[in-house]
Every structure is written in C-alpha cells, then in structure tokens.
Assembly symmetry: C2
Homo-oligomer: 378 residues x 2
C-alpha cells in the first residue's frame, strides 16, 4: 500500500502534516541563480551532485541554469536521472560487479555516461560491460587528493590507468576525478585553502604526467559546496560538482569565510517541518521528528528562527527541544528545523513539499516532488 504524502499541492503551509521535508522554492531558486552566476562569471563547468537531491525535477532545473549534467554515486541513481530526462551523468564512484556495470552500460544507449576507476580491474570490467552492451563509456581516473578514501595515488599510477582506458575500444579516457571530500567541512578558509592547494598540486602533477604520456586530460572534475570557489580559482579544475548549494544545511553554515563570518553564499532552502506532540514542562517540548526524519551524522538539526531553543536527544521518532520557556513552541505548533546534513536527510523522505512564500503570510504548497532516487543503494 502506498504511504500517505504529507501534503497536497494547493494546501496552505499550515495544512502540511508533520514531519515533512519542506523545500523553500524561493530560496532554492535564488540558490540556483547564485550558482549559475558564479559559474558563468568564472567560465567553469558545473556538474551538480544528485546524491544531495535524488530528484530529476531538481536536476533538470540545474541543467536549465547551465549545468552540463549531473553527478551521482550509484547506478540506481543514474537510472532514475536518465529515466527523468537527464542526458549526461557521471557516477563519481568505482562500480564493481558485472550486474551493476551492465545496468550502467545500458544507460549509455540513451545518455552520456561516465564512471570512475582506481584499479586496472575496474578498467577491464568497464570495457567488457561496454562491449557486451555495444556502447562507449566515459571513464575518469579517480586520484586520491587527500581524502584517503577511494582513488589511485596521483602521478604514474594514474597515468597507467589512463593508458589502459585509452587502449580500450569501448572506453573513452575523459579526465581525472579529483575530489577532496573531507576538505568540504573544514571550518576556516585557511584550512580549506591549504587542503585544496595540496589537492591542486596533485591534480596538476597528474595532468602534466598524462600530457607527457600523450594523453590529453579533457576534464578535471571535483569540488563540493564547501570549497568550490577554491577549485575554480585554482585554474586546475574545469568542472565542479557542488551539490548541497541548492539546500545548504546546518553543518555547511558552520563553515567560515575569509572574514570569519559564516559561509553565506547560499540560503537555507531545505527544512524538516516538525510538530510538537508533547510539552510536559515549560522548558521541554517533544517533536515528532527523530532519526528517521533528520540525519544527525553531522550534528543536530537546528531550529530555524527560534532563538534560545535547541534540538537535542533525538530518538527514532522523537526529538527534544530544550531552552528558553518563552521561546518554546506549544503542543500542536510546528517549527522548521535546518537539517544537520542535507544529503542523508533527503534520503529519509519520499517527497519534497515545495512551498512558495514559506516565510510569509501566504505560504502554500506549490508542488510535491518525489525523492525519486531515495533508497537507490545499488
């Protein structure tokens, strides 16, 4: 049986059932425009990460604002994006296993599809899948630029992989994937700058060695919302993969700019709307949003415009608000929470409740967008 959605288009904001994932369409659209202005001003390609939003509705709006396509992490996400009309998808990840590679290769019949490798077996397996499905795949060599996650060491190892790709009849060497995940949430601009300078050194060195080996590195792709200005300024990367910029979250809001003020290029557009189901004492209110509504891996959700109230002690379906009794909401009230981490929070919900005029008197539900690739794990 299908689950009830938390709202219907046309309803007023007050009619939304809680908890719900609310998208402030006005702020979201301003974030789209702000990033489009940035990429146009700097002449950099934008390939936003769909792991944040998992929604063709959002992907197509990003592309309408100049994005070249989408990134994602899973074959299942790529399937949802292509089915939703996205024509250019890069899986920024190693894909292991014939079944997944066959699924990915089949997508290449109707879209431009890329993936990453960091091992010779990955090159061979991708080539075989492309051959089996009579397609060509774009392949990027992932280099470890400091994140110590996936990726071959920069330099000669990367060149050998690129040579293997270039030798294949069914693969196209498309460039290098140089993403520094752990730099995204370094709090000071100095830390982030140092991390991206080191990453840039590794990427430039690899591009030069590729060039000496006769291999043109068409695309150097990477960067997230936290560092995208640095990669852009470096002149080394020519494609950025920021995803969270459309939403922002409480953790990104803790990043600091050069002048020490909070990172504020983008606005909070994504919220979990929570309802107060109990208020046993004046300084404690219990909301209906816990671990299954808002991810806490990067810190607690933050009540929006509720000075003096903090969200704490989440359990599966409860969150505890504590703080100033004067500011504390009452039983039956709802309040907006800024998620600690947008990506895994989105993945808990089936629907974006898209609200127009969220903070005004005429706030209403303009649309429901499905989180179409929610749970696309494989």
């Amino acid at each position: 049986m299908p689950l009830s959605p938390p709202a219907q288009p046309g309803q007023s904001f007050a009619e939304i059932e809680t908890p719900a994932l609310v998208l402030d369409l006005d702020a979201f659209e301003r974030n789209l425009v702000a990033m489009a202005a940035f990429t146009q001003a700097h002449g950099i390609r934008l390939r936003p990460h769909a792991k944040s939003h998992k929604s063709p509705e959002i992907a197509l709006r990003q592309i309408a604002h100049g994005a070249v396509g989408q990134c994602c992490q899973k074959v299942g996400e790529a399937e949802v994006l292509v089915a939703g009309g996205v024509g250019d998808v890069l899986v920024t990840n190693e894909i292991v296993g014939a079944a997944k590679l066959d699924r990915l290769a089949r997508l290449a019949r109707s879209a431009k599809i890329g993936l990453c490798v960091d091992h010779p077996d990955g090159v061979r397996e991708a080539a075989e899948a492309a051959a089996r499905n009579d397609v060509t795949l774009d392949v990027y060599v992932e280099i470890d630029v400091g994140g110590r996650r996936c990726g071959v060491a920069p330099g000669e190892g990367a060149v050998r992989l690129a040579e293997a790709i270039a030798r294949s009849n069914t693969l196209r060497f498309a460039g290098i994937h140089a993403y520094h995940g752990s730099a995204q949430h370094m709090r000071s601009i100095d830390e982030r700058r140092e991390a991206i300078e080191r990453a840039g050194f590794a990427a430039r060195n690899t591009v030069e060695r590729l060039s000496h080996a006769g291999l043109k590195c068409e695309v150097v792709t990477g960067a997230g919302t936290g560092t995208h200005e640095l990669e852009t300024q470096s002149g080394i990367w020519n494609e950025i993969q920021a995803g969270s910029y459309i939403f922002m979250d409480a953790d990104y809001a803790r990043n600091r700019q050069a002048d020490g003020t909070p990172f504020r290029t983008f606005e909070h557009s994504l919220f979990v709307l929570a309802g107060v189901m109990s208020k046993p004492v004046p300084d404690r209110a219990i909301v209906d949003a816990g671990h299954k509504s808002a991810a806490v891996d990067s810190g607690m959700p933050v009540p929006f415009r509720r000075e003096g109230v903090i969200y704490t002690k989440p359990s599966d379906e409860h969150g505890v608000l504590t703080g100033d009794p004067i500011a504390m909401p009452h039983r039956g009230d709802s309040l907006l929470l800024i998620p600690g981490h947008c990506d895994p929070t989105v993945n808990l919900h089936d629907w974006y409740v898209c609200v127009r005029g969220l903070h005004g008197p005429d706030a209403h539900v303009e649309a429901l967008w499905p989180v179409a690739a929610r749970g696309a794990l494989i």
Copy 2:
C-alpha cells in the same frame, strides 16, 4: 520507476547486490523462539515494537509465536500493519492533529487500536476523532518514568487524564504506558536495574492512585529489549514492548549481563552486506555502504567475524575499513556489517533479503520481504 531490488529469491548468497539489508532467517527464527519461551515462562504479554522492523511479514511471525499484537510510533505504520493483517496495534506515542487522528480512528473499524495521551487536549481530540468515525479507541496514559521525553508526571496528573478518558463515550481507558527508553542502553545491569526500579516505583504508585480513584489499570505496558527481563521480574508491568530482540545490533551487544559478559540472549540476525569497491592500500578498503545504508547514531557498524578490521569514517555512500592488512577484504569481496542501531538502519532499505543458511556453504536467498512501512513518518 521502481528501483532494482538487491536480490531475487532462489539466488545464491554470492549473487546479492551490495549494499543490502540481509536477514539471517535461522538466527531470526531462533530469536522469535527465545522470546516466546521467555514470555510463556513468565506469563507476560508481548507486544513487540514494529518501529524496529516495519514489516507485516515479521509482525505476523511474532504474533504466531504468541505476541498479542504490535506497537508502533506513527499512524502510517499502523496503517501498514493493519493492511498487512495485524488485528491489534498500539501507537505508543501522542498523536496530534485531526487528520492523523481520523486516519487512526478509521483503522479501528477493522482492528483494535490504541494510542497514548499525556495532555487533556489529547484526550479530547482522540474522543472527537473516535466519535467522528464511530469507533472506540483504547487510550493509554503515558507517564514519564525517567526518560524525560513525553509523558505526564506519575501520580495525580495521570489519574486526572485517566478519569477524562473514562468519562468519554468513545474512548476506553486501557492502561498506562511506562517506557524508559534511555534505560535500554545503560551498559551495566546495575544501572539498568536501578532505572527500572525507579520506573517501577512510579508505575506502581500511579496504578495504586488509579485504583483509589476507582479506575482499574488493566495493562501496564513498556520495556524494551535492553530491560525487558527487569520489567517482567518486577511484577508491575504485564506487557513488554521489546522490538530489537529479533535483530540485535552492535549497540545492544555492548550491554552487559550481571556477570559482566555481553548481553547474549539474542543473536545478530540483521546485517548490512557491503561490497569492497576500492582498496587503495593494503590496510584500507572502501565499502559501498555509508550513511544511506547504515545508521551511525548509536555508533559505527561492526564488521562481523572480521577480527582486526574496523569500519570508520562513513560518508554518504562510502565506509572506510582500516586495520590488519592480513584480515582486510579485497576489491570485489563482500562482508557483513552488524548495524550500530537496527531501527533507523532498517528504515534506509526497501527490502529484507532473507537468507537461509547464511554462514554455511549453501547460503541462499529464500525470500524478499518489503520494509513496507519504511518512510511512514506521518
């Protein structure tokens, strides 16, 4: 478009796509039997919590082993359970708002339905919803026995609520809900015993005051997997709500019994099967299961029977294995992870891949069970 499931019945264990939520059917069935034996030996009612499993398939097996019905936290979960054939559901939570209460009341046309209240408005609203829908609802007064979450203070406040319930023509005063959530994960038996003794004092006091007011408290319900033996031994509770016992998780495995050894009444039956997608250096392997496959709110997933290997640094779709290079899996290998916390981990997946003979040579997929109430937030 529907997402691809990670397996099909009849496949071998090796054919399961990763990451996947794997249920060891043999261990699961032994857990069912172990709890049934406990409840029969002690003459206590078992109403297992469906917030853990979100599956009518599992609910019906629990009921076949003697459970009186199910608990859940959300109206949407109750809808899925009733649609799946469960005839007795208690929502162990305050439900606020006419729309949700109407949905709940409608279920009472075909099942026995209960809910909790901790405020006079909750009594009134539930009575109105029951009247609108021409049904009777069982109502439990939730008392705060130490968890400092929802619940009225034990004693007179609870009596006044029970009196209000009893006065209603459409509600039935069914008992008290006395659940101490934070006691479940206290590590030593002494801590848990002290917490449940205090909770029992509060529950007994409330039952006595209800009795003085002429109100029979038919059911005292509460307890989780971590403390259910204590509530049972107390003689105060006559219904226990354990949910995690069917799965166990890494956090419950950190609880200690009286002799200091790990809590071992139940076996680990629930796993996230993860695949190694990259192994850049001998002492680091990267798996395809991160925050979107395994919840980390109660600690990291623990590799199963992989001595010397730890799971660390999860990101959205990656986890990093570090440790002993000899024990480290290779690219393309898969391994079982014991989730840190079973409930929110289950909620990330669409399917239980039910495996027979999991740890033997003939391990195979016997069934796929949908996580039918996954995402049932409202």
